[in-house]
């Protein structure tokens, strides 16, 4: 049964390691689950799941595995239908509570099966049948101290199914998480001794020895990263499926506090006259200004986008009607201008590499910007290119 649960977790994309599983077994041996299903639920979740986002998956796996305890006659939906009704508040006497407490989970389960076999129709407020607001330990909203909650797991199941479908689309191309991106971006550095003054221990000892024990403190400067990163991201339209991935890259880059300067920008389709600093409020910086201000060898330009657009949006003047534009420069010429200014530049493309050749604009842009797929390997290669 427990092995089933392990694989149910795996199936529901809850990452369980053997270490965690052994810890759980160890905890069970120590009796930390308090001999109850509820206790086991809490214990298993805290030992195995380390991410709130996976709680739903855990609920689903839990329901899946322990559903086997409910006889096949009744489906989860049928049970839920019974239970959906309003719940009356119940006040149990001390005596009744005491009686219910005496049942062990196994007895509860056995009794549960018995009742299910007998039950033919909806039943509310009784003390034996499954229904809502009863003193029976089975069912939803009851007041049994070690009772089994059916409703919640049922709902969790449905919720998870809905979510699972929503994420399926880009699960396969989501090969990166924020952490991996951060680690990759950290490799992008050009260190130079320009930081705070710190004691250079080796030099101090060396000099002190040369001076026959006369202490001479030698100070040096801490090494500081010189790289200034400009990150421009395509948003909206055909980029919508990659939104999460790009957002992750953005949060990774902005969170590491590792660059001398970090400027994020947004664009749509291709870069035209302006680069936006805020998508919603149309705040922008002129590309010309950016090019003028970003002089120096430490600038790195990273473009993120699928580079897929209608050919005219790239190749002809006025190909794309941007708000507040004052010139007619073609998209491709803008890209060339950027390329000229930023010798160290890359284009990260979230699209599957095999699909690149079906878009002529991808090839045209790849001629101007070294293009890499937005995967772990692609990001690593891109960072090498930038160094």
């Amino acid at each position: 049964m427990f092995l089933d649960f392990f694989y149910a977790l795996k199936r529901n994309e809850v990452p369980v390691s053997l270490t965690e599983w052994m810890t759980l077994m160890d905890a069970m041996k120590q009796g930390l689950h308090g001999d109850s299903l509820d206790g086991f639920y809490d214990l298993a979740r805290m030992v195995v799941v380390k991410d709130v986002a996976k709680f739903d998956g855990f609920d689903l796996a839990f329901a899946e595995t322990f559903k086997g305890m409910v006889p096949a006659g009744a489906t989860a939906e049928e049970l839920l239908d019974w239970l959906e009704d309003s719940i009356e508040n119940l006040h149990l006497t001390e005596e009744e509570m005491e009686h219910l407490k005496r049942l062990t989970p196994e007895e509860l389960m056995a009794a549960f099966e018995e009742i299910l076999k007998k039950q033919k129709e909806r039943h509310n407020g009784g003390s034996h049948w499954i229904g809502t607001g009863g003193t029976s330990p089975y069912g939803k909203g009851g007041s049994h101290p070690t009772g089994i909650s059916l409703g919640e797991h049922g709902r969790g199941t449905a919720m998870m199914k809905a979510m699972g479908r929503g994420y399926k689309g880009f699960r396969s191309d989501r090969t990166l998480d924020v952490r991996q991106m951060t680690v990759a971006l950290k490799k992008l550095r050009a260190l130079r001794r320009e930081g705070e003054e710190v004691l250079d221990l080796d030099e101090t000892i060396d000099k002190t020895c040369r001076d026959a024990g006369e202490i001479s403190l030698v100070f040096g400067r801490e090494r500081e990263n010189q790289v200034r990163l400009i990150l421009a991201m395509d948003t909206g339209g055909s980029m919508e499926p990659f939104r999460r991935l790009v957002e992750q890259l953005f949060s990774a880059a902005s969170a590491i506090n590792h660059f001398k300067e970090f400027k994020p920008f947004y664009f749509h389709n291709c870069v035209y006259e302006n680069l936006y600093t805020d998508v919603g409020e149309y705040k922008y910086e002129k590309v010309d200004d950016l090019i003028r201000q970003s002089s120096g060898e430490h600038y790195r330009l990273v473009m993120v986008g699928d580079a897929a657009m209608a050919p005219f949006e790239l190749m002809i003047p006025n190909g794309y009607l941007e708000r507040k534009r004052t010139s007619n420069t073609k998209g491709i010429d803008r890209l060339r201008m950027l390329a000229k200014r930023f010798p160290k530049r890359v284009w990260l493309n979230p699209m599957d590499e095999r699909e690149w050749r079906y878009n002529t604009t991808v090839e045209q842009i790849a001629e101007i910007f070294p293009m890499f797929p937005l995967t772990l390997a692609g990001l690593d290669a891109a960072i090498k290119e930038l160094r």
Binding site: P15, S17, T19, E20, T23, D26, A27, Q30, G31, L32, G34, G39, D42, L43, M46, V47, V49, K50, D51, V52, F55, D177, V178, R179, T182, V183, K186, L199, L201, T204, I205, T208, G213, E214, I215, L217, A255, I256, N257
Partner: protein, 281 residues
């Protein structure tokens, strides 16, 4: 088993049953307990109260963006030693005189078992948690300069808090027991407020909490008010003697001392915008 179920919350701290069992499981398994949750849900406070409930000393390590894993173990004050070597103050051959233990070192070296709080572990560099894996596993480390082995006689109860600013490495997560502190519901919130303001007027309690949850429900808030802000706000209300109207709508004008709850200008604008549509006739 008799050592289990030690922690049931304290007079000054209301812990949900899940949180209680998370603490007790972590203690029984001798694993670090990783606590996440919205800001202001009492992550840091928890460690203080665990220490109080278990009757143990608390050692706190506040992690900052510049914190290195090594600093938690010990630092070696070379400059002082050099200085003593030159000016002949004390025995410079004894390196251990110049070794200062960090919070982790102190927790390991303590005679009595302690509670160790590693606060906001996600503030530091991404590699920081990985650098601590061995030390937290073995609860021991070696002082390289003296060859001395510092090992915990009794494993400290370790509480680690994180605000999810950075994701933590898997290897680190595998070793922890995890608990996510849910934002308290109205019932729990009443208990919490009661702890901070014993004997608070029922009416003020009801109205302030209703208003507080209404504020939290306003869509589009950048920073929603948290428990600690509610507690402070009630303190201000008490001090000023202002009473809350029975059916207050949430507008910047109708909530007295809104600044104690909402700290961002744009959030106040959001509340203002949100309150407008209900007004048209």
């Amino acid at each position: 088993m008799e050592s289990f179920n030690k922690f049931t919350g304290t007079e000054g701290y209301i812990a949900s049953s899940e949180l209680q069992s998370a603490v007790n499981v972590a203690v029984a398994l001798e694993r670090p307990l990783l606590i996440k949750g919205e800001p202001g849900t009492g992550k840091t406070l928890l460690a203080h109260h665990i220490a109080k409930a278990l009757g143990q000393k608390l050692v706190i390590w506040n992690v900052k963006s510049t914190t290195k894993a090594r600093e938690g173990l010990y630092t070696y004050d070379t400059v002082a030693r050099l200085n003593d070597a030159r000016f002949g103050d004390g025995d410079v051959r004894d390196i251990s005189r110049y070794i200062k233990f960090g919070p982790l070192g102190r927790a390991f070296a303590a005679e009595e078992p302690v509670v160790l709080l590693i606060d906001e572990v996600d503030k530091a560099d991404v590699e920081f948690p990985n650098d601590l894996l061995h030390e937290l596993d073995e609860m021991s480390f070696e002082v390289l300069e003296t060859g001395e082995e510092v090992a915990a006689k009794k494993r400290p109860v370790t509480i680690i808090t994180s605000n999810s600013e950075k994701e933590l490495p898997d290897a680190f997560l595998r070793r922890c027991v995890f608990h996510y502190i849910d934002f308290p519901d109205e019932h729990q919130m009443k208990q919490i407020v009661e702890v901070h303001h014993p004997g608070l007027d029922r009416v003020l309690m009801e109205r302030s909490i209703t208003l507080f949850y209404q504020l939290r429900e306003v869509p589009g808030m950048r920073k929603r008010p948290s428990t600690s802000e509610l507690v402070d706000w009630i303190r201000v209300l008490l001090a000023s003697g202002v009473s809350l109207p029975p059916e207050a709508s949430v507008t910047p004008e109708s909530v007295p001392f809104l600044g104690a709850l909402v700290k961002l200008r744009e959030d106040i604008d959001t509340i203002d915008r949100h309150s407008k549509p209900t007004r048209w006739r």
